[in-house]
């Protein structure tokens, strides 16, 4: 099977001391939702930043669609939503979308259409001209997600896109993620919520910078003989210690 992202023996040391990731080797499939799951401080964001090419890595290799992470050619194929929203709160949703559409190189003629389609996609059409700072938490997340949809990416890398959202909204977003994956987009989504792990096609569990498991949710449960991902996680961690 072909892979979207391949990590080989990836280690990242932050600030010369903190071992954020240690010898992580894993390959992700194409056109699936891939959950990067772990408690806070596990190294999820470092892993995500490494994949999008923002993180200076200490050793190892990362390839994304067979190109080294951070290659200029990848800037047209992947989009990235950071944990900190990564939209301008003093601009309206529409202004954000227009700006990022230009920066991602969308043709001028298509920007208007693209913007209204994206607004529809994330259900923010009636909030299009509201400043992001005046939106609710969930609406902000969706505005940021809309930016990540610009330019028909092959890979979307989303760092905790559902954190702090109410369950209904979270469910809606996961429906969207699943639909996008069915259209062939690969989504790498980090979360500290074990519940959300159930919604992923493929799971990576990390803790203290180390890969604990890589499997599908079903397999993980059956292999560990547990009923929930949380229990599986605890069992795996217990076995290692």
């Amino acid at each position: 099977m072909e892979s979207s992202v391949k990590l080989k023996d990836l280690s990242v040391t932050l600030g010369g001391r903190v071992k954020a990731l240690q010898n992580v080797t894993v390959a992700f499939p194409i056109g699936k939702t891939i959950g990067v799951i772990g408690p806070s401080g596990a190294g999820k964001t470092t892993l995500i930043r490494s994949i999008v090419g923002r993180q200076h890595i200490t050793s190892g290799d990362i390839s994304v669609f067979d190109l080294p992470a951070g290659s200029p050619a990848l800037r047209r194929q992947l989009t990235y939503m950071t944990q900190e929203l990564s939209v301008y709160s003093d601009l309206s949703v529409r202004e954000n979308l227009k700006y990022f559409a230009v920066m991602s190189g969308q043709p001028k003629k298509q920007i208007k259409n693209l913007t209204s389609n994206l607004l529809k996609e994330v259900d923010l059409t009636d909030k299009a001209d509201v400043l992001v700072s005046n939106l609710s938490g969930g609406q902000k997340q969706r505005a940021s997600l809309a930016v990540a949809l610009i330019g028909s990416p092959k890979l979307m890398v989303l760092d905790e896109p559902t954190v702090g959202l109410d369950p209904v909204l979270r469910e809606k977003l996961w429906d969207l993620f699943t639909r996008l994956a069915s259209e062939g987009i690969t989504l790498i989504i980090s979360s500290h919520s074990m519940d959300e792990a159930n919604r992923c096609d493929d799971l990576v569990l990390i803790r203290d910078g180390k890969l604990i498991a890589h499997s599908s949710p079903d397999k993980l449960r059956s292999q560990t003989g547990t009923k929930t991902i949380e229990a599986a996680f605890l069992k795996l961690v217990g076995d290692k210690e």
Binding site: R49, V52, G53, R54, Q55, H56, G70, P72, R75, R76, L78, T79, Y80, M81, T82, Q83, E84, L85, S86, V87, Y88, S89, D90, L91, E95, Y99, F100, V102, M103, S104, G105, K108, L131, V147
Partner: protein
Amino acid sequence: MSPRKTLATSGRVLNQLRHDPRTLVLLFVIPSILITILRYVYQGNTAAFDHIAPMLLGIFPMVMMFLITSVVTLRERTTGTLDRLMTMPIHKLDFIVGYAIAFSVLGFLQASIAATVMLGLLHVTVLGGAVPTVIGAVFAALLGTSLGLFTSAFARSEFQAVQFMPAFIFPQLLTCGLFVARSGMAKPLQWFADVVPLTYSVDALKQVTTHTTWTGALTRDLIVVGAFALTALMLGSATIRRQE
């Protein structure tokens, strides 16, 4: 580099400020108010006021643009927008030059308003006229923006970014020749003033005030200020890394 992306960035920065009318009002009105206050501080000595007021147009735009740029670019770093941009197909200069253009436009507006008040309402005599006065002020704005872009890389919080103003700008302000002529200062301070940009920004305005023609010294001053601004922009560009 793409002119379209550069201008989109300028437009975006100006748009952000447009949504913040209070900042805009402060930016455009404060310099004029301060100059007006100074006029009445120098109630009994209008000659001294005529001498000092134009120099302030080499200082205000720099200080204000320095502050605003520091805070705005720091926000780009802390809110994830810079992270996002750095994973997009853009050149770093699209970002940096976009900022420089946006704040030069603001500097132009700010200087035009202040110059109108100064020349029109307060009747300050500037022998060189309004155009070179505003040009000098725009260079000061550009200088403030580029220094702000560069130094914001070293700030971890908005608190720190704001503190860089007294740290980087005040020493230049004290020695630029506004308070006493530079030739009267202690030698080491004269050397210091010779190598920092604000001196030249203030000197440019001094040239405009005291000469009816465009002098060689004015050209030199603007070249020095421009070169400092360009260098700071390049250094600022180097502090923005694709990979951190």
